[in-house]
């Protein structure tokens, strides 16, 4: 049995590595996705363009404007002179925010009345809008406390002290990039394993293998182990890139990380083999992989929290191995989880792996048409 499985593994590697097209699939797209996701996919805001409509033009108002302009989040690109211009600036997407300071601003400040400041935000992208508003609020709040301190005003009743654990600066790269480890490992494993049976079926070699003394278990192992090795290798490359290129800290145990990664790959390989044994051609296998992959990524918590989804959809995500892989990988990057604390995720992935592998093995024989 070992001889046969070993021969299958060698053959699989040779078939993948000697074919230019397969080599390209392994190297090109992942690299591209790593770069694109790593750099472009971020929710953090930098140099958000904004305009100022300062109707007060006092020292106090200028101080406030300077607070905004000095922040790395905002970039002042225009000073407005009429209320009509606000509409123009926002409509034409030249700015995302307009800081509108009331003519009574300094007078109210000095007379200890609440001084109104209007923040007008472009809501076309609601996420950006909320974040811009959050940043603006924070700047105004610190301006407010600063004023109080300087002018002997009363201290606030209570102070809110926010602290983000694991990611103190709330850098969303620390969130997205470990996610890419799971994402790309999934893509690669699906392509390597998912297309392999369909490719052999198209070429007629699958029949040739089925008539040898190979057992379904041999074939299952012979097909998934190369996927596991390639998946782990690609995963490691991305982990290295995450740590050394993108500077994401990796503080958790590597053992825990790789245990999760391996379980994840095996469960994805099982799904790939399932798709592959149903599909008659590579074309269908590719379409099948695509149809599985897109929902699997969107419903994994990769970019948007699972908690925000409707309950029914949340239940559906329980069947998605990537959901568990993301938890394990992200915690291993930013936290120091013990094996025990990851057991729920490990078990879920192991279960999915066993189920998908069993179904795939059954389909091999069933669909040998």
């Amino acid at each position: 049995m070992l001889t046969r499985v070993f021969a299958l593994i060698i053959k699989e590697f040779l078939a993948i590595l000697r074919d230019k097209k397969s080599r390209m699939v392994l190297i090109g797209p992942p690299l591209l996705q790593l770069i694109v996701f790593g750099y472009a996919a971020s929710f953090d805001l930098n140099h958000v363009p904004f305009a100022v409509y300062d109707q007060d033009r006092s020292i106090a108002s200028r101080e406030l404007v300077a607070d905004f302009a000095g922040s790395p989040t905002f970039q002042k690109i225009a000073t407005l002179h009429s209320a009509a211009q606000i509409r123009d600036m926002i409509d034409s997407r030249k700015v995302k925010m307009v800081l509108d300071i009331d003519p009574r601003y300094s007078r109210d400040l000095l007379s200890n009345k609440p001084a109104p400041v209007q923040i007008i935000v472009d809501g076309r992208n609601s996420n950006t809008a909320l974040l811009v508003l959050g940043y603006a609020n924070a700047i105004i709040f610190s301006a407010s406390t600063g004023w109080n301190a300087r002018h002997g005003g009363a201290a606030p009743l209570a102070r809110l002290v926010p602290r983000a654990l694991y990611n103190p600066n709330l850098d969303s790269h620390w969130f997205i990039i470990p996610g890419i480890v799971a994402l790309l490992t999934q893509v690669i494993t699906l392509l390597v394993v998912g297309l392999s049976v369909a490719r052999e079926r198209e070429a007629g070699t699958f029949d040739q293998v089925l008539v040898t003394p190979m057992r379904p278990l041999d074939i299952l192992l012979g097909k998934s182990i190369p996927g596991l090795i390639i998946g782990l290798a690609e995963g490691s490359v991305i982990i290295l890139a995450a740590v050394f290129w993108f500077g994401v800290p990796l503080i958790g145990g590597l053992l825990q990380l790789y245990a999760g990664l391996a379980l994840f790959i095996v469960s994805v390989a099982g799904i790939g083999l399932m798709i592959s044994s149903i599909a008659a051609t590579q074309q269908q296998a590719l379409l099948g992989a695509f149809l599985f992959m897109v929902p699997a990524i969107i419903l994994s918590g990769f970019a948007t929290p699972i908690a925000n989804m409707p309950v029914l959809v949340q239940d559906l995500t329980l069947l998605n191995p990537m959901r568990y892989a993301l938890v394990v990988i992200r915690r291993c990057f930013l936290d120091q989880p013990s094996f025990a604390s990851l057991i729920p995720q490990y078990t879920a992935m192991a279960l999915l792996a066993v189920i998908s592998m069993t179904v795939a093995g059954w389909l091999f024989r069933k669909r040998a048409v």
Partner: protein, 578 residues
């Protein structure tokens, strides 16, 4: 055509598809472009149609240079590519409509033209059927109808008869003859079937990118006059006899034909060489030459110049042996396979004895592949009993599969792996380890003359070598039973002969061989065969028996194809009467 050369780049290698080809194709004739797969037939067709450009040389069609003005040429010709160029998800009528629009046939002429064509093709009842649902023969005729929508001056047909049953093939030839002789059209068609060449007015022999001969087919057979014989020797099996004759000096070709051996002698050699070989009770009779003899002579002539010694085959052991008493190895009874409500194999029974070469003959879709796959355990049977070596492979333990060898259609091996890597993989798959594995791989490389190709990527091998390698892989573990699915389709006649030489030797050694084929003349190699159509067995017996059944005074020497067509026609007539 003058000095046409065309090369392709495949990775870092340059493949020459056509090398300095010059020829004339005359108007008002059927000209056949004859050669094995990979000889460059399709490339030449495409060059003439103006969809490829020549690297050197020029082609003029009716005086117009194709590469300078392809559109004008395309206005005068019609071209049917290998897969007929049909849109499978369109109906017959819609396909005709499309080509009528493309050829700008006026609306008013259409109804009449459609009627005429459909009548000629005999497919009027199927006008609303989707093209993808037609049989191979029907597709071919529809493809032809589409190219004939507006009668062209020159009709190009690229391998029009591949995968088509003999009945449809014969009909197609009837149509071509009609077009040329009644309507004065010129037809240029390519084919890998040598027996079709005899039907052409002129032939162009293409081999390994070069023209090796041209002229009317009679010219080739005339040269062979007095060199063809049929030899019988009751003391020996036909295969022993064939092997013995082949070894003689002065023999161009010796192939098994029914219960006899067909012999072609070198020019100038007299029939007494056979008597000189002292084979007891030998009976030798002259027969008229056929086109294939001429082709083989040409190829052998080239090869004789290249090398002298033939190799590899075990020396013939002239010990008479009969297979009658041999035990049954493959036993099939009431085998049925249904896909939904379609019955692919309908209650068939047969058995194969040890050391027998058994043929499954039939057109595409006759059910032979389905039967074959059930026997190998690749497909579950709906009903009936089937046993190979006493076991049903579908449910038998994996070890039972270790006793059989399987060679798939298209010689499917791992194209990205080298020859040695493929051999090593299959050796391991059949549980060969250590020294035994090394020994068998060395045997395969030596026996099949693959050693020089050891590190070549198998995708790039010439077709004949792919076939050898596929056989080597199937024989790696010295199986008792060998399954061959369309083992010789597309390979050139010499490679085919060599292949059968090996199979013969194996059968003599006691290996049971089951082979499917749609080449009618290949049936001659089989000890016994069944002919299948629409899932049923039409006839069973030796090829001699089948041919004898239809022998009449008008047709004293029927071919296997004649026998097949007669069987099908009788079957259909029987159905029509019922």
């Amino acid at each position: 055509m003058a000095g046409v050369t065309r090369r392709f780049h495949s990775g870092d290698r340059i493949v020459t598809a056509l090398e300095d080809v010059s020829a004339d194709v005359r108007a008002g004739k059927v000209t056949g472009l004859v050669g094995p797969d990979g000889a460059g037939k399709t490339t030449l067709m495409r060059l003439i149609a103006g969809v490829l450009r020549a690297d050197a040389g020029s082609i003029h069609v009716f005086g117009i240079n194709v590469s300078a003005d392809p559109l004008s040429v395309q206005g005068m010709i019609s071209y049917m590519p290998q897969r007929f160029g049909l849109y499978e998800d369109l109906s017959v009528r819609e396909n005709l409509d499309l080509y009528a629009d493309l050829q700008a046939l006026p609306m008013s002429d259409r109804a009449g033209r459609y009627d005429e064509l459909l009548h000629m093709m005999g497919m009027a009842p199927f006008i609303d059927r989707l093209a993808g649902k037609l049989s191979g023969g029907m597709k071919q005729k529809l493809g032809l109808a589409c190219t004939l929508i507006r009668p062209p001056q020159l009709l190009l047909l690229d391998e029009p008869t591949v995968g088509v049953d003999p009945v449809s093939r014969r009909e197609l030839w009837g149509i071509v003859d009609h077009l040329v002789h009644e309507q004065g059209m010129s037809v240029f068609l390519s084919t890998a079937y040598l027996d079709e060449a005899a039907r052409c007015d002129e032939v162009l022999l293409l081999h390994e990118s070069r023209v090796i001969g041209s002229g009317p087919p009679a010219k080739f057979t005339r040269e062979m006059e007095g060199r063809s014989f049929v030899v019988r020797a009751p003391e020996h099996t036909k295969r022993e006899l064939q092997a013995a004759l082949e070894e003689l000096n002065g023999v161009t070709d010796a192939v098994v034909q029914g219960d006899a051996v067909r012999l072609v002698l070198d020019a100038g050699v007299k029939a007494d060489v056979v008597e000189a070989a002292r084979i007891p009770d030998v009976d030798i009779r002259p027969v008229p030459p056929r086109f294939e003899d001429g082709f083989i002579d040409l190829l052998k002539g080239k090869e004789r110049a290249a090398r002298t010694a033939s190799s590899g085959t075990p020396a013939p052991r002239l010990t008479g042996r009969t297979t009658d008493a041999a035990p049954v190895v493959i036993d099939v009874a009431h085998l049925t396979k249904r896909f939904g409500d379609f019955t692919a194999v309908d209650d068939i029974s047969f058995n194969v004895k040890r050391g027998e070469i058994f043929g499954l003959l039939g057109a595409n879709g006759a059910g032979k592949s389905t039967t074959f796959r059930m026997l190998c355990g690749l497909l579950p049977a709906t009903d009936g009993r089937l046993q190979v070596d006493g076991r049903d492979l579908r449910v038998a333990a994996a070890a039972a599969r270790g006793k059989l060898g399987y060679m798939a259609q298209k010689f499917s091996l791992y194209g990205d792996l080298t020859v040695a890597q493929n051999l090593r993989f299959f050796a391991a798959a059949y549980n060969l380890i250590g020294a035994r594995r090394t020994e068998r791989i060395e045997w395969a490389l030596g026996e099949f003359e693959l050693a020089p190709w050891r590190n070549a990527t198998s995708r790039d091998l010439p077709l004949g070598y792919k076939q050898r390698m596929a056989l080597a892989c199937a024989l790696m573990h010295e199986p008792d039973v060998l399954f061959l699915d369309e083992p010789t389709s597309g390979v050139d006649p010499l490679a085919r002969r060599e292949f059968w030489r090996r199979i013969n030797a194996l059968a003599e050694g006691g290996v049971t061989v089951l082979v499917t084929t749609h080449f009618m003349d290949e049936a001659e190699y089989c000890d016994r065969l069944i002919i299948m159509a629409q899932g049923k067995i039409l006839a069973e017996g030796t090829s001699e028996e089948l041919k004898r059944a239809i022998r009449t005074d008008a047709r004293p020497n029927p071919s296997m194809e004649d026998a097949f067509i007669a069987l099908i026609t009788a079957d259909e007539a029987g159905k029509a009467a019922a």
